[in-house]
């Protein structure tokens, strides 16, 4: 198979104005509506937001795994090492999937094929992308399983998925995803379906391996704790758009968007009064079908102004690597023009 390019790119991945829409009977669902972000070599990027805000769709779009119909990538560009993924043919795409960019999913219980042995599933991944014998691929798979901490990998590899626990299966998924030394690992809520005790182990594992293999990671989560512990940068998504983008420390220290502020406030804290009520953002995420051109957060926002109800805010730079889309950070003139 073709060798991986060694050319250095500043950004491993550049997503520009990506739009992924779903055509449903009820109308067009703009699941992802014009988002842009970059991912640097070795960087760990977090994408956070409530359920249904478009986090998973964003990442399935990067892999072009959107079920179509009803889904469709209607606009934008996704550059991987300078190549627009959206313009690739099926076979060029297969060269990227699992080889350059690989993915692990939310539910390790259903993401492995229950009918095939772990060895079969791991070997095939390696053999698709690398020109090596099955025997060598098996050796490599065992090495990977050892690396992710599966005890007795040499014999366990011949087991079926149902003979592993959830946490172990997620380890297998990680081993499989990294077996071709992918440059980008997309982890779509990798710990949501797991026990809390296992969650930390899996996250540490992802962190350790990504450093070891110099893999860039996109981690999708609704858990701000995960983001704080792992990510260099964070994108906060709301209703198909990125509302705030910042370095992790920056985001926690100075959340700019009222939504981000609300999210951080909602994290339960051990040092707060025991009998105090937990904070929550009032209301529900908006229905993204035929959304009017307003700030989608305005019905839930305490600081909403008139302009929020009629216009989507422009993106403002609040400092290096800190962007926010909110009318609060604009001046009066911009608002009246808007």
């Amino acid at each position: 198979m073709s060798k991986k390019t060694t050319k250095q790119f500043d950004n491993m991945l550049e997503v520009r104005d990506l739009k992924t829409h779903f055509l449903t009977d009820a109308g067009i669902v703009k699941a992802v509506d014009g988002i842009s972000f970059d991912l640097k070599q070795g960087e760990t990027l977090g994408i956070v937001g409530e359920s249904g805000c478009g986090k998973s769709v964003t990442n399935l779009s990067i892999m072009r795994l959107i079920p179509s119909p009803p889904g469709k990538i209607v606009g934008g560009e996704i550059f991987f090492e300078g190549q627009d993924i959206l313009k690739l043919s099926e076979s060029e795409l297969r060269h990227i999937r699992g080889n350059m960019i690989s993915m692990i999913f939310q539910d390790p219980m259903t993401s492995l094929n229950p009918f095939l042995k772990i060895s079969t599933q791991m070997i095939e991944t390696i053999c698709i992308h690398q020109d090596i014998s099955k025997k060598a691929a098996l050796e490599k798979s065992i090495d990977m399983l050892n690396l992710v901490g599966i005890p007795d990998a040499k014999s366990r590899i011949h087991n079926y998925p149902h003979q592993f626990s959830g946490g172990m299966r997620q380890r297998v998924m990680i081993a499989m995803a990294l077996s071709c030394e992918a440059k980008i690992l997309i982890a779509d809520e990798p710990t949501t379906a797991l026990d809390v005790t296992i969650q930390a182990q899996i996250l540490e594992l992802i962190q350790k391996l990504s450093r070891q293999l110099n893999t860039s990671v996109i981690i999708i989560t609704h858990d701000l704790g995960v983001v704080a512990g792992m990510c260099d940068n964070v994108c906060v998504m709301y209703a198909g758009k990125i509302v705030e983008k910042a370095k992790t420390e920056d985001l926690y220290a100075h959340p700019a968007h009222p939504y981000t502020f609300g999210l951080i406030q909602s994290v339960p804290r051990l040092d707060k009064a025991k009998n105090g009520r937990l904070f929550s953002i009032e209301g529900q995420p908006p229905n993204v079908i035929d959304l009017p051109p307003c700030c989608p957060f305005h019905p839930r926002c305490e600081k909403a102004m008139d302009v929020c109800r009629t216009q989507y805010p422009p993106t403002k730079n609040l400092g290096e690597h800190h962007e926010v889309s909110c009318w609060l950070y604009t001046d009066d003139q911009e608002r009246s023009n808007g």
Binding site: M63, L65, P67, L93, R94, H95, I96, R97, G98, N99, S102, M103, F105, D107, T110, S111, L112, N113, P114, F115, L116, K117, E124, T125, I128, H129, Y160, H162, M173, M176
Partner: protein, 309 residues
């Protein structure tokens, strides 16, 4: 596994005993008897016949006598056709039905699975619509319509094959083609629909998404990853379907003049031919129970999560 197989095979025996017992008594509860005719027989004649077939004995005695014979492999004399044994009927007609049935079910499986898979993979295209339209025809049009239509087109108009007959009776082997296709139709339709829906389910599953994310080509995903899982419902349908199809079909046998077992199911009931009814029921039950056993074994071979101890 061996233990399980032995246990299952032993388990077949009580099942069959219950079936035989129930059918023995049920047929005798039905009004009318094998020797009732339009014109009443003279009392003496009737009594003589009943004595010959032991129908004058108490039911329990008859049952004991019958069971004793059955256990020795003798299904008794036909009550209706003098001088003929039930064993003779079955051994003469069952092979014909099995040959026809095996060919028919093979056609049904081959075309059913192929078109079901094509329909699923090419969902909402003309391939899908065409094979599902064909399946609807197969399910809704009765065999006694399909049969004569095929006869008219391929035997009478095109003259490719004979209209009817059977190769063991000296006719051409081509006689087997039309009845096999006719018989295959209904099962083809069901298999195609089952395959399509379960393939669609499988293709939507998470592990198929994983396979795609690994960069596998679609054809490999379908055959290596999706095939096994989507065959499970088809296999469980095939067990009883196979038992049904190899024990003959009265319609197809009548339309194509085939000396099969199917017609005895119907005739023996009309005739109240007690031993023949129970005889064909026994044959059918043995095959059915055995097929279900085979299905379970195939299941465990397809799905590693199923293990038998």
């Amino acid at each position: 596994m061996t233990k399980y197989i032995v246990r299952r095979l032993l388990g077949i025996i009580p099942t069959l005993l219950v079936i035989i017992t129930l059918s023995f008594f049920i047929v005798r509860v039905a009004p009318g008897g094998p020797f009732d005719t339009e014109k009443a027989l003279p009392e003496v004649v009737k009594r003589n016949i009943e004595a010959k077939y032991h129908l004058d004995e108490p039911l329990v005695m008859q049952y004991g006598r019958y069971m004793f014979d059955v256990l020795r492999g003798d299904l008794g004399p036909s009550f209706r056709y003098k001088d003929w044994d039930v064993n003779f009927y079955i051994f003469q007609s069952l092979p014909n039905s099995i040959i026809l049935g095996v060919i028919a079910i093979s056609i049904a499986i081959l075309f059913g699975i192929t078109s079901g898979m094509l329909a699923a993979v090419k969902q909402n295209t003309w391939v899908d619509y065409l094979s599902m339209a064909l399946a609807v025809v197969g399910i809704s049009v009765p065999l006694f319509v399909i049969g004569p239509v095929l006869q008219y087109i391929f035997a009478m108009q095109l003259q490719w094959v004979p209209t009817s007959g059977w190769f063991t009776a000296g006719d051409s082997w081509k006689t087997i083609i039309l009845p096999a296709i006719t018989l295959a139709f209904a099962d083809f339709a069901t298999i195609a629909r089952l395959t399509r829906s379960s393939m669609l389910d499988t293709l939507r599953s998470d592990y198929i998404r994983t396979a795609k994310a690994k960069g596998m080509r679609t054809s490999l995903i379908i055959f290596k990853h999706a095939m096994k899982g989507s065959m499970l419902p088809v296999v469980s349908y095939l067990g009883p379907a196979f038992a049904g199809i190899i024990t003959g079909s009265v319609v197809v046998e009548t339309v194509f003049r085939i000396p099969g077992l199917g017609k005895f199911f119907v005739q023996s009931s009309f005739n109240r031919d007690y031993t023949l009814i129970v005889g064909v029921v026994i044959v059918y039950s043995v095959i059915l129970v055995f097929m279900n056993f085979i299905v379970d074994i195939i299941y465990s071979m397809l799905d590693p999560r199923i293990t038998y101890k």
